[in-house]
């Protein structure tokens, strides 16, 4: 065992492996920043290259891409209010307002530090307690997953506190949209109007690009300073000011391009202390949800955001540019990466779509991830863990080194930046399934986003419903199919009961909190 451990360490610190990991991080960050360009897509692009590389080198490249992509997605969410990946949607909620206040460097610094901590925490879990965690995750049945997703959905309440009707309506629209496509249990077509393009439903990322990017682009049409879009960033974001002009809000009051703070690029000590708790929450939640097959990054990011909001006692600042609101989802989505590697390494079961690709890529090298990997190729298994550790270190170094360049993105002339973003949105929507139909869907969601903004309706509940709706239905119906309609297991299974209990707490907390805010 010690021999394999050492062998693994040596493999991971070979110059070629290290270089591949670094290149992977860089590519991942770039790919993650492009809206619609998923980590999965980036991995597929480099896949043929890895056929000729040594497995240890390939795995470094892939893990770099994985960790880098998670971080890169947040950069565009923070800088442009256009999440590059689904997992980074929660980061935009507070990241973009920080940029609007001229603190792009601070926001990015927080994101990078939190991502590093989250990634490192999950790497430690992977290294120390992977088998035990995987066995725990195996106890989760459909009923438990349903309750977990249900808990995720109750977060809607904390985004709907300004207007319950608008918030819940937004969520219902989302849930209605996810019913389009094949019925998950019967396999029959629902609301497809005999169009095969609708059979697999609306791709979440297509909707995300439309909902976030199109209103953002329209906003930029009639505000030519970088501050033009500010304050209206996320439609109806939580607790956003009732008077449109409060914190750095009104058009024209925002700093001009040159005023954007470039000095404070390294995260300040005071900020780091402030994000201790949110990072802790995000790391734990992210790692754990990463392990559960199918739960994935977006739900981890939103749950962490919500818990950080409740636990830090600064909930009123969330949504207006709180560093805690950037740190929690960032720590979570990078912790998901290590978490998702746990069932892959120990059971050969992918935790998310990216690890599914990783399994395929390793198989192409004749390495089958799963319980046997530690028996047959323990050196490789440990090498993978060390590579994952290095990927997180490179992520931190590359991102910190590149911050100066990155913040300039916000300062770039809008006349260049916005057309580029528009093109990327169309290309991104198209490339998900190589389908022009998805581009129309993306524009359709753009119109929906504009309408919701005009109605001052929060968009986050819609987003959550889109991410979670399908899993909610699938798990509920499969659980009920298995139990033949008996619902007791939702309450007798300890995990399910725990999640349902937390759901009640989450709803009550939001309702009471909202009432207290309105009282004075």
């Amino acid at each position: 065992m010690t021999g394999d451990l050492l062998q693994g360490l040596l493999q991971a610190i070979q110059p070629a492996s290290l270089a591949a990991t670094g290149v992977g991080c860089l590519l991942g960050i770039v790919a993650g920043m492009i809206p619609g360009m998923t980590i999965s897509a980036a991995m597929i692009i480099v896949l043929p290259l890895t056929f000729v590389l040594d497995p240890n080198v390939s795995i470094g490249l892939f893990l770099g891409l994985y960790a880098g992509g998670m971080l890169g997605g947040s950069f565009s969410a923070i800088l442009l209010n256009i999440p590059g990946t689904p997992s980074s949607a929660a980061t935009a909620l507070d990241g973009y307002p920080l940029v609007a206040r001229g603190q792009a460097g601070r926001a990015l610094g927080m994101a990078v530090s939190a991502s590093f901590c989250g990634g490192l925490f999950s790497a430690l879990c992977l290294f120390l307690i992977a088998p035990r965690l995987a066995d725990l995750a195996l106890q989760f049945r459909s009923a438990d997953l349903f309750s977990l997703v249900f808990l995720g959905l109750t977060i809607i309440c904390s985004f709907a506190s300004r207007s319950w009707i608008k918030g819940l309506l937004s969520a219902v629209i989302g849930l209605a949209i996810v019913t389009v496509g094949q019925d998950p249990v019967m396999g029959t077509a629902r609301f497809t109007f005999r169009d095969p393009n609708l059979l697999s439903g609306v791709h979440f990322l297509t909707a995300l690009i439309g909902l976030f990017a199109i209103p953002q682009l329209i906003e930029n049409l009639h505000g030519n300073s970088p501050g033009g879009a500010i304050g209206l960033g996320v439609p109806g974001r939580p607790g956003s000011p009732d008077s449109p002009g409060s914190p750095g809000g009104r058009n024209g009051t925002a700093p001009a391009a040159g005023a954007i703070e470039l000095r404070k690029l390294l995260p300040a000590f005071a900020d780091l202390r402030r994000i201790r708790l949110p990072v802790g929450i995000g790391s734990a939640v992210g790692t754990f949800l990463g392990i559960l097959p199918g739960a994935g990054g977006p739900i981890a990011a939103f749950i962490s955001y919500d818990y950080a909001k409740k636990a830090t006692g600064r909930g009123d600042r969330f949504g207006q540019g709180a560093v805690e609101g950037v740190a929690a989802p960032e720590a979570a989505n990078n912790a998901v990466t290590g978490g998702a590697l746990i069932p892959m390494m120990t059971l050969g079961i992918p935790g998310d779509p990216v690890t599914a690709i990783l399994i395929g890529a390793l198989l192409a090298h004749g390495l089958a991830p799963g319980p046997l990997l530690f028996v047959e190729r323990a050196d490789f298994a440990y090498g993978l863990m060390f590579s994952f550790f290095w990927a997180n270190v490179f992520n931190l170094l590359i991102a910190l080194a590149g911050l100066r360049l990155l913040v300039k993105v916000v300062a770039a002339p809008r006349t260049l930046l916005m057309p580029a973003v528009a093109i990327l949105c169309v290309v991104g929507a198209w490339s998900l399934r190589n389908s022009i139909f998805d581009v129309y869907v993306m524009f359709g969601f753009g119109l929906l986003g504009l309408a919701m903004k005009w109605l001052d309706m929060p968009v986050v509940p819609l987003l959550l419903a889109l991410v979670l709706g399908r899993q909610l239905e699938e798990n509920l119906r499969i659980a009920l199919t298995g139990s033949q309609g008996d619902i007791t297991m939702f309450f007798t299974s300890p995990f399910s009961a725990l999640f349902l209990g937390l759901s009640v707490v989450s709803v009550v907390w939001s309702v009471v909190g909202a009432r207290r805010q309105r009282a004075p």
Partner: protein
Amino acid sequence: MATVLQHGVEYRLAEDGRSTGDASRLSMLLAALLAGFGLFGPPAAAQYPERAIEFVIPFDAGGSADIEGRLLAEEMGAVLGVTLVPVNRPGAGGALAYSYVNDADPDGYTVMWTSTSILTITNLGNVPFGFDALDHIGRVEHQPLVFAVATDSPWSDIDSLAGDCGNRGRPIRIANSGTGSTTHLGALAVMQEVGCEAVHLPIGTRRRNATVLSGEADAMVAPLTGALSLFRAGRLRFLASLGADRNPIIADVPTARELGIDVEFDLFRGLSVPMGTPAEVQARLADAMTRAASSDAFQRLADDLGLTVAPLIMGPFEALLRREDARVRAIIQSADTLTP
């Protein structure tokens, strides 16, 4: 009628070689045979691949079926001298990709990585055409479905599982990869044969194995390649293979037929093109496919995955498709309903 003797195989040709569908298929076969034996490349096909060929993959990027397709495309590109560009068109169990290829120009520049799903999708009516709406180049490999339980489950053979059916206060639950998928049909067929009314859980590929290990499902039907690593690690027990013959990788596992269960379900992958693609082009593709399938790189991947590489081109492949199509239709029709 003219009789042609070629490599010991006797073919009867119609007077007008192109007037009937059968005859044109026959000439395709001939051309393929000749090309396959490397005797000569048909002159028309010499110009054929002039530019990149779109290689449509009906699966999500990154799964083992996708990676296998990509490797085949790469190896075929080496044979044909042009690039085969893999394009993923996932969604609706392959229905989107099949519709796309059905509508594509039959010029040989759209080739599809087909699987058994073409038989399930067409028979379920998810696309408005049958499997024969496309021309089929050939099969590359095949693998059996397996009937698996967790190692810590009380059943060591299908009989004991069937014996427990209905005596446990709840029905037997069998996981599959999705309603109407081949794994679902395989499970339906086996349970029908042993006379057990089971509950079928369409759990999807991602969580299918996990539900068997956790005990949420009592058993599952899965493609061999999807369950092999857990089997080798001793976490899964295979009660039966649904293949036609014993698979050398799992030589100890009996076939359903040996157990007296009249079910046979092999999964295959191969190539298809839009209907009406010129015969010379099809022959050229069949030749490239056969050579790519026997390349070292592809053989190695197939070995690692647990696939049996067995190229089968055009005529015999069409016959196989027709036979399997009837089988799939029979299972779908005999199940009162596909719902759990």
